[in-house]
């Protein structure tokens, strides 16, 4: 749907303000119900037995002792599920191992018992006989011909001969002639960059409560980013019809992409089916880290050529991502986003999707893009500094704008990259003085953004207040944003609208809360649903006035006669029309169903100052500023919150966070003590600058903002640390020992 140019910024009454969120009081008083907060009469506790091996054939599972334990009501293994459709085969295998356990923590059996204590005891009584197999957890090792192979027969035809069966697919994007471009360069940087696997680190562990009746009807309460996805996947795995499984989304305690897939849910439903009782399952933190969906670790080669004036002549990257135990790492999105901020004549990426004995990667905020940006933005920084050029000026010279043909194919409409760069260049942060051992870094980032299947139903109550039903879990204030857009469109106050997240029985299909899609796509559908309700209300007013519906228009919350022959009638407000709706044709509602397109790509530029302690290698973040295009900021405080949260997750990825596997293939840091995410005392305030370059694909110009903020910080921090330490850092995380070793090696020359 096109940008509605008649709606200028100055005309907005609600959009752009900062009202209190409708779920605020519940969340500050402890009343909000998250995944683990629900109970059902007679419910059992479910628990999962997990593989202690990184790679092992499952020879035998004996559950008889567990089944005999008093209080145990059901035991489930893979055999209970039978054959499942191909499109959910890997999901099934990840939820419950079949022939092999493929990573430390892989589920192999589950039980439901009448108490947590019995459940814990019963799990230990399940006997599993394993044949331990050689394993591989490093992406470069996993690609070698002799590496232990996880799956036979999964390699795609795009992969040339001679590589390990763990290499699943090869992709290529770009245009121009790389070698010819590199020949024109005055200098070429060629480096390899590596990033560790990180976890989304949402504070709420996965949880669900399942019931299943003998007649095949099921109900599921679950913390998820997409309850419609949960319904569809679980129905396929359990052989149910989708209409028979009703899924209700709880409040969600963070997701960042990690709650876009199922782990416990099919198992809980199967336990509920076998026991005939409601079954609640809640993961421990260790289970979350060992056996949900962290991001890919990566190994990336970059070659970029530049003229002395800063013009990039050619850019090439080869990206290798291990995405855990099943195909589908985010390497393609990494490849497509790697050079997306630049207008390049000669550009190419080659991507390799690799499996290894780690948990299957799930999405993590702009999946695949941060590590690619780390590599590319580091190389550009190095080239710019090598020529003594201003790194922002180099980006301004090469940056993508309207009409640029992106490295991954499309030609951009109006985009905001240049606006973020110009804002950064003129911001006081850019010229603030730095002290000893301090450095400043900048980097750009890109994300595609997404629309997708969306349904919204808007109902006018008899007293003239409005309810909006939408199908996307609210992960950061989206109920407030939908309420604002509905109020804006209807011309009524914010507090006259309430938005609820409907269950799967109440609306058509809705895509997962992902791809920064909700404020854009659900917002668009909300606006259209409100417009449909307005058309109906104009029709009712026309009926009362005895004029054509075409001669009525909606303005400031009321129907008004319009046009030369409409006659003179006093406006009828929404409340007045609603009050007599029963006599004018019945209840008034509007709805909209759409596969939303035109999400509008997103760009940001980050700037950070750090201080590196030369004696310990420890890095302190001193100052941080985010510049990003929001299209139109519906609720600016929540836009700032997305910028700040994404930046800090990126800081964690850059400095601290990493999955550490031992030689035995076992995850060594499966807890928040050793997998250390940033805490309040690690950080300064995170300053934000919101740019508003309207998205031509949304009536109010909205772009998604959630994902882009995690793309630049890895590189921005690395560029700052490299400047402060006087040595180029090419591996994340830049933990103190790594930085110290780099400083000492550089000192030795």
């Amino acid at each position: 749907m096109a940008l509605d140019d008649t709606k200028k910024i100055k005309d907005f009454k609600v959009v752009g303000t900062r009202p209190n969120r409708p779920d605020g009081i519940d969340k500050v008083t402890g009343r909000a119900r998250f995944g683990a907060d629900m109970v059902a009469p007679g419910m059992l506790t479910g628990r999962i037995l997990r593989s202690p091996h990184a790679h092992a054939r499952i020879l035998r599972i004996d559950t008889s002792k567990a089944e005999a334990l008093p209080g145990v009501k059901a035991v489930v293994t893979r055999a209970d599920f039978g054959d499942v459709p191909d499109h959910v085969a890997d999901v099934m295998d990840n939820c419950m191992a079949g022939a092999k356990a493929l990573y430390d923590g892989h589920a192999v059996a589950a039980i439901a018992a009448n108490s947590a204590a019995v459940a814990r005891k019963a799990i230990r009584l399940i006997e599993v006989e394993y044949e331990v197999l050689p394993h591989v957890t490093d992406v470069d090792e996993a690609m070698k011909p002799g590496a232990p192979v996880l799956h036979e027969g999964r390699q795609q035809e795009t992969v040339p001969e001679g590589l390990s069966g763990n290499v699943i697919a090869r992709s290529e994007f770009g245009h121009g002639d790389i070698e010819a471009g590199l020949k024109q360069a005055d200098r070429v940087v060629e480096r390899t960059y590596r990033t560790g696997a990180t976890h989304q680190g949402y504070i709420e562990p996965h949880a669900c409560l399942a019931t299943m009746s003998a007649d095949g009807q099921g109900d599921l309460w679950v913390c998820t980013q997409g309850h419609y996805m949960v319904r569809n996947v679980c129905a396929a795995i359990l052989g149910m019809e989708q209409g028979q499984l009703r899924v209700t989304a709880s409040e969600i305690g963070g997701g960042f992409g990690g709650k876009t897939v199922v782990f416990l849910e099919p198992v809980a439903l199967m336990l509920a089916k076998k026991s005939g009782r409601p079954v609640k399952m809640v993961m421990s933190r260790s289970e979350v880290l060992r056996a949900t969906g962290p991001t890919a670790s990566s190994s990336i080669d970059v070659r970029i050529g530049m003229k002395t004036d800063g013009r990039i002549t050619a850019a090439f990257a080869e990206l290798r991502y291990q995405g855990g135990a099943y195909p589908g790492s985010p390497v393609d999105m990494g490849s497509m986003s790697a050079f997306a901020p630049y207008d390049l004549e000669n550009v190419k990426t080659v991507g390799w999707d690799v499996v290894s004995n780690r948990p299957k990667a799930a999405a993590y905020r702009a999946p695949g893009a941060p590590m690619a940006a780390f590599a590319v933005e580091s190389a550009i920084d190095e080239l710019a500094k090598g020529f003594g050029l201003d790194p922002l000026a180099v980006r301004l010279m090469n940056g993508a704008k309207e009409g640029t043909k992106a490295s991954y194919g499309p030609t951009y409409p109006a985009i905001g990259l240049m606006a973020t760069l110009e804002a950064a260049h003129t911001h006081p942060h850019w010229t603030a003085p730095l002290g000893e051992n301090q450095g400043r870094g900048v980097a750009c980032g890109f994300w595609f953004n997404f629309g997708g299947d969306t349904c919204v139903s808007l109902n006018v109550t008899p007293d003239g207040t409005v309810t909006v039903s939408e199908g996307n879990p609210d992960i950061g204030g989206s109920r407030a944003s939908m309420t604002m857009m509905a109020a804006e469109e209807l011309g009524i106050p914010y507090d006259q609208v309430r938005t609820v997240i409907a269950d799967t029985g109440s609306l058509g299909q809705n895509e997962v809360t992902d791809g920064s899609r909700v404020t854009f796509a659900v917002g668009l559908a909300t606006i259209e649903a409100a417009r449909a309700a307005k058309r109906e209300m104009c029709k009712r007013a026309a009926m009362i006035w005895g004029i054509d519906a075409d001669a009525v228009e909606w303005e400031d919350g009321a129907a008004r006669p319009a046009g030369p022959n409409a006659g003179k009638f006093p406006p009828m407000t929404l409340k007045e029309i609603a009050a007599i709706a029963s006599n004018t044709g019945g209840p008034i509602a509007g709805h909209h169903e759409v596969n939303a397109e035109g999400a509008g790509v997103s760009f940001g530029t980050h700037m950070v100052d750090v201080e590196v302690d030369p004696d310990t290698g420890a890095t302190k973040i001193l100052r941080y500023t985010v510049f990003q295009d929001a299209g139109r900021a519906v609720h600016p405080a929540y836009v700032e919150g997305q910028f700040q949260g994404g930046a800090v997750q990126g800081i964690g990825w850059a400095l601290n966070e990493e999955y550490i596997y031992g030689e035995d293939g076992i995850l060594q840091n499966a807890g928040f003590l050793d997998y250390r995410i940033p805490v309040a005392s690690d950080l300064p305030m995170i300053d934000t600058v919101i740019l508003e370059i309207p998205n031509p694909g949304h009536p109010y110009g909205v772009r998604g903002v959630g994902e882009t903020p995690i793309v630049p910080p890895l590189a921005a921090v690395a560029n700052a640390v490299s400047a402060a330490a006087g040595v180029r850092m090419t591996r994340l995380p830049m933990s103190p020992p790594r930085v110290l070793a780099a400083i000492q090696e550089a000192a030795r020359g």
Binding site: D23, T29, G476
Partner: protein
């Protein structure tokens, strides 16, 4: 398996419960007493989502046994507002968008209240270090720190 009888005070109300010897205070609050406002994020004392005060001392309820609550005064998030009237911190967190998903919010509010009871004029650094045991993954802490500082300023003006 015999259970332990405990008499304690929770949010000012005398409360009795039975618990297993191994049950944590967090288990008791959530599973026995239905006080699910206190959250479990890790179960190992690393995330602070289960923060409560016991006899005025801030601690992680996952690190204390339910049986140890005998004779103590426990305060949870459910006791922070006075009926419909929110505590100034609660009100400020809503107004300043200091929560996104809200899962860490109860623990952070309990911890922040405990800080302001000791020090109504904390520096930014003092707030950051006091809250260093409360993980938040959504906000980057910026708006949380600002909300605590603003609340402290309001309360100083009001006192």
């Amino acid at each position: 398996m015999s259970r332990i009888h405990v008499t304690t005070t929770i949010n000012g109300d005398e409360t009795e419960f039975l618990c297993d010897a191994e049950a944590t205070l967090l288990d008791v609050l959530r599973d026995e007493l239905g006080l699910t406002g206190t959250k479990e994020g890790c179960g190992t004392g690393d995330c602070g989502a289960c923060s409560v005060t016991v006899d005025g001392r801030l601690l992680c309820s996952c690190l204390m046994l339910g049986a140890e609550a005998e004779g103590r005064e426990i305060a949870t998030i459910e006791g922070m507002a006075a009926g419909e009237v929110l505590h100034p911190l609660q009100q400020k967190f809503i107004e300043m968008a200091a929560l996104q998903c809200g899962i860490c919010t109860p623990g952070i509010l309990v911890a922040a209240k405990s800080l302001l009871e000791r020090n109504l004029d904390p520096s930014e650094e003092e707030v950051r270090y006091w809250l260093a045991g409360n993980l938040c993954r959504c906000t980057g802490y910026d708006k949380i720190i600002r909300a605590v500082m603003e609340t402290a300023a309001d309360m100083r003006r009001a006192s």
